[in-house]
């Protein structure tokens, strides 16, 4: 029997028969539906919450509390005229392809996220009709790398969209976007390494299982810095405010999606918010224990409690993203690049070294406080040197001097 490299789900032990295929199909269907509904709700949530934070009311008329506003917008967009650039200035084939390159990675990343399950008692597995399975679609042993790989692919959608529109502002937006996303991917990956050092595994199921006991969340086990770096880096990856230079209406009209209309724009819109929900889910999985939470009653439905806690945590993150939008002004492009390269990457690198040194000290029996002090001093020293270098460079640049 040939091994299937993509799942260490207990479902697949013993071969793949019709039952297994049906269960996976069910999981895919449920996850797809959940994701689509959550995107719709996320868009509504953003509009309502942003309005509340800015003294307004948001959608109120369509449906109770304006819940069906997203649906109404989707229907309206569906009926609009579909414009395509002509092939002399733009490229209609790639224009058509680009929204899918943004949308599909968002779906795919969600497949490795554990959305429920009781990790305290049952190791996150549920047993239905004699089949034990995990509450996630797939659990590859390199789950987190899969996430990184797909978020690298999301850059393509935006880059190609802007270029294929054949017009200035989209090209601006897409060039800025690709530079921004590529820079922050490095910070994303490095902050992830801190989590991996603590969890010792790349599989999302095992990362969540490692945080199962309530005091083991990676949030504080890695120190808070990797979480903050990951939060900032993922906000930049998602092109959310304050890093939304890419689609800044006040500056470059719509950026890469200026020329898109009708259903293609709807796909971009959908893709962006789907990415928000998915990235929130990843952050919850990595740092907040995923479905981990107290189970006060109905112990047999522990897996359902897992789903509830997971959704609450994702909701908290969506709230945070909207809060960012309401509270922060936009970063200028050079400030954005400085933040990514000169602050986040060195910080995460230094933090990884410190974490590994502390781990080593614990396992080798060294004097832990001493090691901690040395790490801290080292970080401070490196930080000061870096700051001095950056400041001197900035001073020279502002004074207009070149370098010899």
């Amino acid at each position: 029997m040939t091994s299937l490299p993509l799942a260490v789900d207990p479902l697949f032990v013993g071969g793949v028969g019709l039952e297994e295929v049906l269960i996976v199909a069910l999981k895919v269907g449920v996850a797809f539906a959940m994701l689509m509904v959550s995107v719709m709700l996320m868009i509504w949530f953003e509009r309502k919450l942003h309005a509340d934070m800015t003294n307004r009311m948001g959608p109120t008329i369509t449906g109770p509390f304006g819940l069906l506003q997203t649906l109404a917008d989707g229907i309206k967009l569906f009926f609009k005229e579909d414009l395509l650039p002509n092939d002399e200035r733009g490229d209609s084939a790639i224009f058509r392809l680009a929204p899918y390159l943004t949308l599909i990675p968002a779906f795919l990343i969600f497949t490795v996220v554990p959305i429920g399950g009781d990790f305290d008692n049952a190791d996150g597995k549920v047993s239905w009709w004699g089949n034990t399975t995990q509450l996630q679609i797939a659990d590859p042993p390199v789950g987190i790398l899969f996430v990184l790989a797909l978020s690298s692919l999301a850059v393509y959608g935006i880059m190609l969209a802007g270029w294929s529109s054949g017009s200035k502002y989209p090209l601006f937006g897409s060039v800025r976007a690709s530079a921004q996303m590529v820079s922050y991917e490095a910070a994303l990956g490095l902050s992830l390494v801190a989590v991996l050092v603590k969890s010792g595994t790349l599989s999302t199921h095992d990362i969540v299982a490692g945080q199962a006991d309530g005091w083991n969340w990676n949030l504080w086990m890695t120190g808070f810095i990797p979480f903050i770096v990951f939060l900032i880096a993922s906000t930049a990856e998602l092109n959310r405010p304050p890093f939304d230079l890419v689609e800044a209406e006040q500056e470059i009209v719509g950026g890469f999606h200026t020329e898109y209309s009708s259903i293609r724009f709807a796909l971009f819109f959908l893709g962006e918010y789907m990415n928000v929900v998915t990235m929130s889910a990843i952050m919850v999985t990595l740092f907040f224990g995923g479905p981990d939470g107290p189970i006060p009653f109905f112990e047999s439905f522990g897996w359902a409690w897992g789903i509830l806690w997971f959704m609450l945590k994702v909701l908290a993150f969506c709230f945070t993203f909207v809060w960012f939008r309401a509270a922060l002004p936009r970063f200028r492009y050079d400030q954005l690049m400085d933040l990514g390269w000169k602050l986040l990457i060195p910080l995460s690198l230094g933090w990884i070294v410190a974490l590994v040194a502390l781990d080593l000290a614990a396992s080798e029996g060294w004097n832990r406080p001493l090691v901690a002090v040395i790490c801290f001093a080292g970080l401070m020293l490196m930080g000061t040197l870096l700051n001095a270098a950056v400041q001197s460079g900035k001073r020279k640049r502002l004074a207009g001097e070149g370098f010899d």
């Binding site: 919450l49 509340d52 934070m53 800015t54 003294n55 307004r56 009311m57 109120t60 008329i61 809060w323 309401a326 509270a327 922060l328 602050l343």
Partner: protein, 220 residues
């Protein structure tokens, strides 16, 4: 990096969640809803006024079209038929159209009109589905036989919106006659009669009335 100043924003926006909302539910969404009070001199849809005896005030002079910065008024004058004059005077506005896709409601036309024929009401509800319908013709613009602006089928008029459409007063006499220079006078309007002068205008109502009656309906 001054990053901690940025955190003030978070406190503020979070606090706003518990504050009262400034924008209320938008009123007037449906025909039976309450509508907000409109300012007295709001610029809305134009109306072509008529004198108390039913004659149209518009003399087809095309001054409004000439002054319009958006080129949205199309006027053509024609000679008044001898036995059935439309306006007091020699000519009247035969074709009068306003293109509301172009109109910016600046009211320069209202300032330019020598007879206060064109004024703006408070009605702002335009509705058309093609460019041809956007051009309101004289039939739609001219006031009805009762002196009130016509209630077009898509418009939702509320009480008080068709009042005071002719909100301008002339500081000098419209006829140019020397005796009336400096005297504030209103011409009579169909359905409204003689308007009372506004605050700060002439206190001598009787004089104003007397002059007005002389002028109304007379040929210049």
């Amino acid at each position: 990096m001054g990053i901690f100043e940025g955190l003030e924003g978070f406190k503020l926006t979070f606090g706003k969640l518990f504050d009262e909302r400034v924008t209320g539910d938008y009123k007037g969404g449906r025909f039976d809803d309450e509508k907000r009070e409109k300012p007295l001199r709001m610029h809305g849809r134009h109306v072509l006024n008529r004198y108390e005896d039913g004659m149209e005030k518009c003399i087809g002079c095309e001054l409004c079209a000439g002054v319009c910065p958006a080129n949205c008024i199309y006027v053509r004058g024609a000679d008044n038929p001898i036995d059935d004059p439309v306006s007091p005077g020699e000519r009247y506005g035969f074709v009068y159209e306003i293109n509301y896709l172009r109109c910016i409601h600046c009211d320069l036309c209202v300032e330019a009109c020598p007879t206060q024929a064109i004024t703006e009401s408070k009605m702002f509800e335009f509705s058309f589905t093609n460019r041809q319908d956007a051009i309101y013709t004289k039939e739609e613009l001219v006031v009805g036989d009762d002196g009130q602006p016509k209630h077009l089928p898509w418009e939702d008029w509320r009480p008080g919106e068709d009042e005071n459409t002719s909100a301008w007063m002339r500081a000098t006499s419209p006829s140019g006659a020397a005796e009336y220079i400096g005297k504030v006078a209103w011409s009579g309007e169909l359905g409204y009669g003689i308007r009372a002068p506004e605050a700060g205008q002439t206190a001598d109502l009787a004089e104003a009335h007397g002059d007005a009656e002389d002028m109304a309906g007379g040929n210049h």
